[in-house]
Symmetry: C2
Subunit: 198 residues, 2 copies
């Protein structure tokens, strides 16, 4: 039985370290890479390394940036009195895409998860406290995921911060464009409890 | 609106050149790469380039190899009298995985496809002719895909080679483990016509 040549096998193995890439997709990607234009493959290889070198957490809000201070923290047009707290940079990018939020962010770099041993001390909670005390923040929006970990983190932060500042939570309810029939009971129940006058 | 930092954007763009990777999976892969161990990302980047440098077509059969002559062509235990003709290296790897074939290969590097302008002259047909004339080949198995292009290529090669050597084609029929009810009519019709005594 003849296997893949070694160099190809190594590429297939390396591709399989990526999420959602199993042996079959790794092989398909590898065959593509063998036939792709050299410039494309070189761009991919160099951007893999370059991204790791250049991108780092902002020292203030811990969002991802390739600048010394991230472009949101350093933007004087952003409202410094409203702080949106999220678990991961990708959550902040998602909120930015709505174009509805003009305040600043604080990235916790995780969510409380006792099973995985992630306690509040391992998150950027101390830094959040410090910002709430030192910056002119009037409102903290807890925008952690509507999951068990996200809810636990929001409950914890609310207890910590409610005496210092106004604390709010993202509305929870049915997704726009979704089908009531296929909405899970917990979400639908919450949408009912959170109903608003029209 | 704040977009991704430039270096991250470049990585997301580069990942999107891969097949089946759209903007959302590219972003998910990029976030994974930012958090993955450095050694893993370096291994991926270097294997991308290394594979391109080391892997090339075997000068005899055009299978992929990192050796001067591929390990199948240079293996004296392989039967040099049977030649299996396929479109792409991945087809030869698939046949090797069956462990049923002990002959040698010839990779056409494509299939005849007039719509895409791929004629027999652009494939390794001339080299196949030469091998049939010069090597002790008794049988050529046409193992091109059971698709329109694969069938057209097989018909063409049969016409070219039938006076020189015995030409056979992979059996076509119902897939093992499949459901007759869901087998398409063409495949089922072919399985009927190709029925064999038990």
């Amino acid at each position: 039985m003849d296997d893949y040549p070694q160099a190809l096998e190594r590429l297939i193995d390396a591709l399989q370290t990526l999420p959602t890439v199993g042996p079959k997709s790794a092989a398909r990607l590898a065959f593509h890479i063998l036939q792709a234009p050299t410039s494309e493959v070189e761009a991919l290889a160099s951007s893999l390394l370059e991204t790791r070198e250049r991108i780092h957490p902002c020292p203030t809000c811990f969002h991802l940036t390739d600048l010394e201070i991230c472009s949101i923290c350093s933007d004087p047009r952003r409202d410094a009195t409203i702080l949106c707290v999220v678990g991961q940079p990708k959550d902040a990018f998602a909120i930015e895409r709505t174009r509805e939020f003009r305040g600043k962010y604080h990235i916790l770099q995780g969510l409380i998860n006792p099973i995985e041993g992630i306690t509040a001390e391992r998150l950027r909670v101390r830094e959040l406290h410090q910002r709430v005390r030192e910056e002119p923040i009037r409102e903290v929006i807890l925008a952690t995921d509507p999951t068990v970990s996200g809810e636990a983190t929001a409950l914890y932060l609310n207890r910590e911060l409610e005496d210092l500042v106004q604390v709010t939570r993202l509305a929870s309810g049915v997704a726009v464009g979704s089908d009531l029939e296929y909405t899970d009971e917990v979400t639908l129940g919450r949408a009912l409890r959170g109903r608003r006058a029209l």
